[in-house]
């Protein structure tokens, strides 16, 4: 793996424990979402980030509270990583009143503007130019906020990717485009439909950007890279395009058993499970296991509590159907 941005700066234990804690929460919450689906408590589709947590966590910890996140339908982890409430997320998946969006958006549109989570977008590519727009706004208002935009490998072949990248570079916008290359689109390997090996990084030069490929299963590496390019963007250095190599442990969506993947591939990636790697690293750094077990228990309790709260929440009221088409709160198209 071409890890150009690998840095050796040591991270403090506080940050490392934060990264571990966040990865744990993302992992346990996604697993819980899967269980709830099996219990038929989640009705719509959902796209899990199992195996990809290091990316959401690495960026989440590196971001400033007022920075902007834009994510895809596979956005539970990125939304949680900004501090959105877990019962709000699980409630939304279950279509409950306590859901972040009152049940109106569902799994694919998680948003918490109060935490800078500016939406999850379910049509491939659209949010890249939208993230550029938020970065433009930050630049215009002089706030030094940065917009971070997550998307998959498959998204690099759609037109909006190209437009957003060129646009962001010529306007020097503070936006970080993060490609989570998990090797697959829905069921088709990205390599079979892309002209270059690294669908994002090998195209960076087309926008006069640096080629950056990182190990997306290593939260430290993601964190360092995020911190570096976000700092640069804040100072007016313009956008970056970062390709994070990773793998999803589950299928594309709840309906997919993932049988198109060659035998053994998943097992090899499970050995590089970001949580496993990270736990071993922390132990190697001399952190006592009891500390980790505490964190693990805490994360699990948080997920349990959120699950109970969400389960106890009623179905959303029907009056919500006719609310919030317009800023006046209503849906009237006539007088």
């Amino acid at each position: 793996m071409n890890q150009k941005s690998k840095e050796t700066v040591a991270l403090g234990h506080d940050i490392r424990l934060e990264l571990y804690k966040l990865q744990l929460e993302l992992r346990y919450c996604e697993k819980r979402a899967y269980d709830l689906f099996l219990q038929n408590l989640i009705k719509g589709t959902s796209h899990l980030s199992l195996g990809q947590e290091a990316i959401a966590a690495g960026f989440g910890v590196a971001m400033r509270p007022d920075d902007y996140t834009f994510c895809t339908y596979r956005g539970h982890a990125h939304t949680l990583a900004r501090g959105a409430s877990m019962e709000g997320v699980l409630g939304e998946l279950m279509g409950r009143e306590c859901g972040l969006l009152g049940g109106k958006g569902g799994s694919m549109h998680l948003t918490d503007v109060s935490k800078g989570a500016m939406g999850s977008y379910a049509i491939i590519g659209a949010h890249l130019p939208v993230a550029a727009g938020a970065a433009w706004s930050a630049q215009y208002r002089g706030t030094e906020q940065v917009a971070v935009c997550f998307f998959g490998d498959g998204t690099t072949n759609i037109g909006a990717f190209h437009e957003a990248l060129n646009f962001s570079v010529i306007w020097k916008l503070p936006v970080i485009f993060v490609c989570e290359n998990n090797l697959y689109m829905e069921y088709t390997p990205i390599g079979s439909v892309t002209a270059v090996e690294h669908p994002a990084a090998d195209r960076a030069a087309a926008y006069n950007l640096e080629k950056v490929v990182v190990d997306g299963n290593d939260a430290d590496e993601v964190y360092r890279t995020a911190a570096k390019y976000m700092a640069r963007a804040r100072e007016g250095g313009g956008p970056a395009l970062i390709e994070c190599m990773t793998y999803r442990h589950s299928g594309h969506s709840r309906a997919d058993p993932g049988q198109y993947r060659p035998p053994g591939e998943l097992d090899r990636w499970l050995e590089r499970d970001p949580l496993k790697i990270y736990r071993e690293r922390l132990l190697g750094l001399g952190i006592v296991e009891a500390t980790l077990i505490d964190l693990e228990g805490e994360a699990m309790r948080k997920v349990d509590a959120a699950t109970e709260t969400a389960k106890a929440s009623p179905a959303p009221g029907l009056d919500g159907i006719h609310k919030n088409v317009w800023a006046d709160g209503g849906a009237a198209w006539r007088n």
């Binding site: 719509g44 589709t45 279509g95 977008y121 379910a122 088709t188 959303p316 029907l318 006719h322 198209w333």
Partner: protein
């Protein structure tokens, strides 16, 4: 006669045409090796191989552009756009290119292309994966538009679409994919531009499309049995060409028109039919024209909310009871 699901009828229709004509090719995202995300194209890759059934990148403009260029030069491509909502990312190719090329070149170019797409609500996918957008296509001159409700129609109309020399959009209702129905054995080829009268009544004529046909039939049953209101039900099937002969005749007989539309209200196909009826058989009408549609709003995701947004059997029964005597 065999019983097929709606999704099996899709694959059967495509397979029938691919067997018949070597120039029929099929492309789209995950349609090949994976058999389609709705499993509506299972078996085609195995039968026809990667030369004729081609998986593509996530590049809808390239998919439809490629289909168009191939259609102009001798092939008969079938392109899948996974969800009809995604037509928005390639709308230029559909609305400005495919639809207009023949006219602009005064007939030099022929455009035998089929676009299949999964349309409509009921899967709790939220506002960007649940729209009924057949009216987007109906509004563009140069496009033919069909939306079948039953497996037999699916097979026959897909076959007709493939044989048609003009661009045809096939809106498949995603919540009907599991619906089963009888499909005739052997070659099935239907005709574009023909509505079907599924039920005859005296009090009003319900005109419906796709999923709403099923709800209209269920509502008509209840209205008849429980409320003594007898309804004709017309399945429009084809928005362009539009079978105004059948529709006008059936509305004239009962004197009342009710459209049942899954689309959000404004500029739906029902508005067009209402305006034709209000012009051409105005004097045959015995009362107001009623449109029962999804309210004009984006669709909510949660099951409970979604079910209360698109027209339900109960709502159809209630509105017709209240307004037809």
């Amino acid at each position: 006669m065999a019983e097929l699901t709606y999704r099996e009828a899709v694959a059967a229709g495509i397979a029938q045409e691919m067997r018949r004509d070597d120039n029929v090719v099929f492309l789209g995202e995950d349609i090949g090796a994976a058999g389609g995300v709705f499993k509506a194209t299972v078996g085609l890759f195995e039968e026809f191989g990667p030369r004729r059934v081609r998986d593509t990148p996530i590049s809808e403009q390239a998919i439809l552009g490629a289909a168009m260029g191939a259609a102009m030069t001798g092939l008969k491509p079938i392109a899948e756009i996974m969800f009809s909502d995604f037509l928005a990312v390639c709308w230029d190719i559909v609305a400005n290119e495919m639809a207009k090329m023949r006219y602009m070149t005064d007939g030099q170019v022929t455009m035998p292309v089929v676009i299949r797409t999964a349309n409509g609500a009921g899967s709790r996918f939220g506002a960007q994966h649940s729209q009924a957008v057949e009216n987007w296509a109906m509004a563009v001159p140069g496009l033919k538009v069909i939306a079948p409700a039953f497996p037999a129609d699916v097979k026959g109309l897909i076959a007709a679409a493939v044989r048609d020399p003009d661009p045809v959009l096939v809106f498949e209702q995603k919540s009907l994919y599991a619906f089963k129905g009888e499909v005739p054995d052997g070659e099935v080829v239907d005709e574009l531009g023909k509505a079907k009268v599924l039920r005859q009544g005296k009090d009003c004529t319900i005109v419906a499309l796709a999923l709403m046909v099923h709800r209209a039939l269920a509502a008509a049953e209840i209205l008849e049995k429980e409320h003594g209101i007898s309804c004709t039900v017309v399945d429009v099937r084809s928005l362009v060409p539009l079978d105004t002969v059948t529709i006008l005749a059936e509305v004239a007989k009962t004197g009342r028109l009710v459209t049942i539309e899954e689309n959000p209200r404004l500029c739906g196909w029902g508005a067009e039919i209402a305006s034709i009826v209000a012009d051409e058989i105005f004097w045959d009408l015995d009362g107001p024209i009623i449109r029962i549609t999804t309210p004009h709003l984006p669709l909510p995701a949660a099951d409970y909310l979604e079910d209360n947004t698109i027209p339900s059997v109960e709502r159809i029964v209630r509105e017709i009871r209240e307004r037809i005597d």
